[in-house]
């Protein structure tokens, strides 16, 4: 949940983070709702914008049911994935430094 932590709180970023965590999965509205722990009504209000902006691809899986997946061929999404990895690495390093400082304080 890197981007939501950095720039949020935001339902839009919570969803984006969740898809960045699961880049190969097609996930439907109900499952997105379960994974980010928000009402489907809230999710459905921001999901179309993620599709419009090209972050997610949408496929129809039933009469009125859709599933969504991270659009990994989009160059912007690739940059987000790379940035996120770098940010996660930076966060790990910072935590490590904090732990070492705490040990020295003890």
């Amino acid at each position: 949940m890197m981007f939501s932590w950095l720039f949020g709180p935001s339902i839009y970023l919570l969803i984006l983070d969740m898809f960045l965590d699961n880049p190969t999965e097609f996930i439907n509205l109900r499952e997105i709702s379960r994974r980010v722990d928000k009402n489907p009504g809230s999710i459905s209000r921001v999901l179309p914008r993620l599709v419009e902006r090209g972050f997610l691809e949408q496929i129809q899986v039933g009469k009125a049911t859709y599933a969504y997946r991270l659009n990994t061929v989009d160059p912007l999404v690739r940059i987000l994935q790379e940035s996120r990895e770098k940010l996660q690495e930076l966060q790990r390093q910072r935590e490590q430094v904090k732990e070492e400082e705490a040990k020295l304080d003890d």
Binding site: S10, I11, Y12, R30, S33, K38, N39, P40, G41, S42, I43, S44, R45, V46, P48, R49
Partner: protein, 179 residues
């Protein structure tokens, strides 16, 4: 003929308070502070949020509605003796000019077994004040019904507004289901 209001507002000028007691059994009299807020002010809040947050604003108002609906249902469950269909039937007069003046319920169906249903309303204070929109605008009411019905039905509920007076439809229609 004008219907008798369900609630008379009580005013406490020394505290700048206005309270809406729920009824003779209410123990919430002093906690249930209300304010007179113009529908236009509410809509300006929504439009301001939309200008700043875009589509996220719709989710914010929906989430706020869920909390508000849950709280309202919990209060009313402690106050009203009716349960099930009879409880739901009292929601109409509460929402209309005899109660809080949010909207007029034209039709409401709740399937207590399937935990789904729909409600058709007119004069939603949001839709009527918002002006023309390409999309439904009653996000707070959608959330309110989700939160309210979740408490009543004991299931997590979600609501979608399928028609809206702000789009030029003749009424606002809300479809709700468990998830």
């Amino acid at each position: 003929m004008t219907e008798k209001p369900l609630y008379e507002l009580e005013r406490y000028p020394q505290h700048a308070w206005i309270a809406m007691p729920l009824g003779p059994r209410s123990h919430l009299k002093l906690k249930n502070r209300v304010i007179v807020l113009g529908a236009g002010t509410f809509v300006e809040l929504q439009k301001g949020a939309e200008a700043l947050l875009g589509e996220e604003a719709a989710a914010v108002f929906y989430e706020a509605g869920i909390r508000s609906g849950s709280e309202a249902a919990r209060s009313l469950l402690s106050e009203w003796e009716e349960r099930g269909v009879d409880f739901i039937k009292r929601l109409g007069p509460l929402m209309e000019s005899t109660g809080i003046g949010w909207l007029k319920v034209e039709e409401m169906n709740v399937d207590f077994d399937k935990k789904e249903g729909h409600m058709r309303v007119r004069d939603s204070f949001i839709a009527r004040t918002y002006g023309h929109s390409e999309k439904p605008v009653c996000h707070f009411l959608c959330g309110f019904f989700s939160g309210f019905l979740s408490e009543i039905l004991g299931e997590r509920m979600t609501t979608e507004e399928t028609t809206c007076e702000s789009k030029g439809d003749s009424s606002c229609e809300f479809q709700f289901r468990k998830y």
